[in-house]
């Protein structure tokens, strides 16, 4: 069990600067939810639908590319609206980072982050640890099930869209799924859902392999090995290449661009950058 990250950064640069990206991220998650909820709650229909498919301001169609992919595998020729929507979303995440979906949009992120925070507070051990590859198998399984059964198979159980639907349409049983995920992450497996099992995350991780915006370590020479970034990162294995590898940048698709490493680093080692900006060799601080 790693130590609780944060205090050093708070001391070095103040509470606000040490939580900047976390706060921005929570603001983004709230904003996305607010956009979807403004219609049903206040009658302001900026965005209609759910994360599965939506229509913004009556013109911009967006569709989850994973759902579109499953639909195509189930041999349904998608209507052009959904195809355009899926391509827009896909290109968007290719620019800002695939798993930006996970850390900046997905409603379950707050749930699993809270579970992890509580787990750290309670000093719980890691619990059951499954392979991070499990989620890729789950993704493969979901796609195979779609192709074989001729249905959009993962959407039958997908906790992400289930939660979002529960929030936007007020379905009752969705909350049970949220509770199960929370308890699973808290009591059974550390970062069990988002970092190990979720096939949606695995899909966006694959999208993220080509993404343009990355977390870089331009001041990695200043690193004093306090390990706070490793402790705070939901996908800690992505950091090592940036600190020790040939290029001071995180290139793994697993990175969610959550920016917490930037927050908790007292030495300001990390910063957001574009893929091409951090070239070979040491970037002198």
């Amino acid at each position: 069990m790693s130590r609780r990250p944060g205090p050093a950064a708070v001391q070095a640069k103040g509470w606000l600067a040490a939580h900047k990206w976390l706060l921005l991220r929570r603001a983004s998650q709230t904003l996305f939810l607010a956009l979807f909820l403004a219609g049903p709650l206040a009658g302001i229909w900026l965005v209609k639908g759910t994360l599965a498919s939506s229509l913004t301001l009556g013109v911009l169609p967006l569709t989850d590319p994973l759902i579109a992919l499953q639909s195509l595998l189930a041999r349904h020729p998608l209507h052009v609206t959904a195809l355009i929507g899926a391509v827009i979303v896909l290109v968007g995440y290719m620019l800002v980072g695939g798993r930006v979906y996970c850390s900046w949009v997905c409603p379950l992120n707050v749930v699993t982050d809270t579970a992890h925070w509580l787990r750290q507070r309670l000093g719980l051990r890691d619990g059951v640890v499954s392979s991070r590859n499990m989620r890729r198998w789950a993704l493969f399984g979901a796609l195979a099930a779609s192709a074989l059964s001729g249905t959009i198979a993962w959407e039958l159980v997908n906790p992400v869209t289930l939660t979002h639907r529960a929030l936007v349409f007020g379905a009752g049983a969705g909350w049970a799924v949220v509770a199960v995920i929370f308890v699973f992450d808290l009591a059974i497996s550390r970062r069990g859902w988002c970092s190990h099992l979720c096939p949606v995350g695995a899909f966006y991780g694959l999208v993220g392999k080509v993404s343009v915006i990355r977390v870089a370590a331009p001041r990695r020479a200043a690193c004093d090995h306090c390990m706070d970034c490793y402790a705070v990162c939901p996908e800690a294995h992505v950091i090592t290449p940036a600190l020790k590898g040939p290029r001071p940048i995180i290139l793994a698709g697993d990175c969610t661009n959550c920016g917490r490493c930037i927050d908790v680093c007292p030495q300001n080692v990390f910063a957001f950058a574009t893929k091409g900006s951090q070239q070979q060799g040491e970037f002198v601080p």
Partner: protein, 271 residues
Amino acid sequence: MTRQTEKDATSRRDMLAGAVRTVCGVGFFGLGLGMLSRQAQTHPATTLRPPGALAEQDFLSACSRCGLCVRDCPYKTLHLADVGQGPAPGTPYFIARQVPCEMCPDIPCVVACPTGALDKSLTDITKSKMGIAVLVGQETCLNFQGLRCDVCYRDCPLLDQAITLERHHNERTGKHAVFIPTVHSDKCTGCGKCEKSCVLEEAAIKVLPPELALGRMGSHYRLGWEEKRKEGESLIKDIIDLPDRGYRDGTATPYGGAAPNASGGFKEFKP
């Protein structure tokens, strides 16, 4: 592979255990998902799909469960299914007895659908097939009792087309008529207004999904009269005209000869 044998053995064991764990996990996952998708394909007969919905199997391959059709339904007819409610979770449905489809001429739900799960080629709402009404309660329907309730007939948006009143003899009284509400499957859209308006405590007329309502003949069945009509003549030419039985009297023999007598060829019956 120059490490110590012991370490190799442990890592091999770990790897095997990991592989088994992965296979088991994926197996359970796949099995669970497979069972769920099988179960999702059988949805209850009382839950109807929106206008233009593809056949259930195709619908489940197409619907992204976004709820845009629900949002654009002006009468709040449509709902998204909750987990365990019957239809696949998140898919749109309506229950005719609660809120039937009002058959908007511009069909906003179909227009809203981004994936084509609600078929865009449906532009005339009277051509939709959300279901087909079936008068299941033939022992409770008031018209069957000889009364003139007629509410389902009156409330049908395709009056005198989808439901007509057919006059039959009242077998109970022996001297009156009954007017039986009769659904015509080629016209009925399955909007559910009849089921909603049925005055009984439990509706005698119910909208069922088309495949359930209509039944299905074996695909190899051919109706002789239909085939004859299509062909313009009998399909079997030069049919051998086998002798008719019953020509037992002297005027006609079974094997040709004399013509049948005046009483149609049968021996005159005199008790």
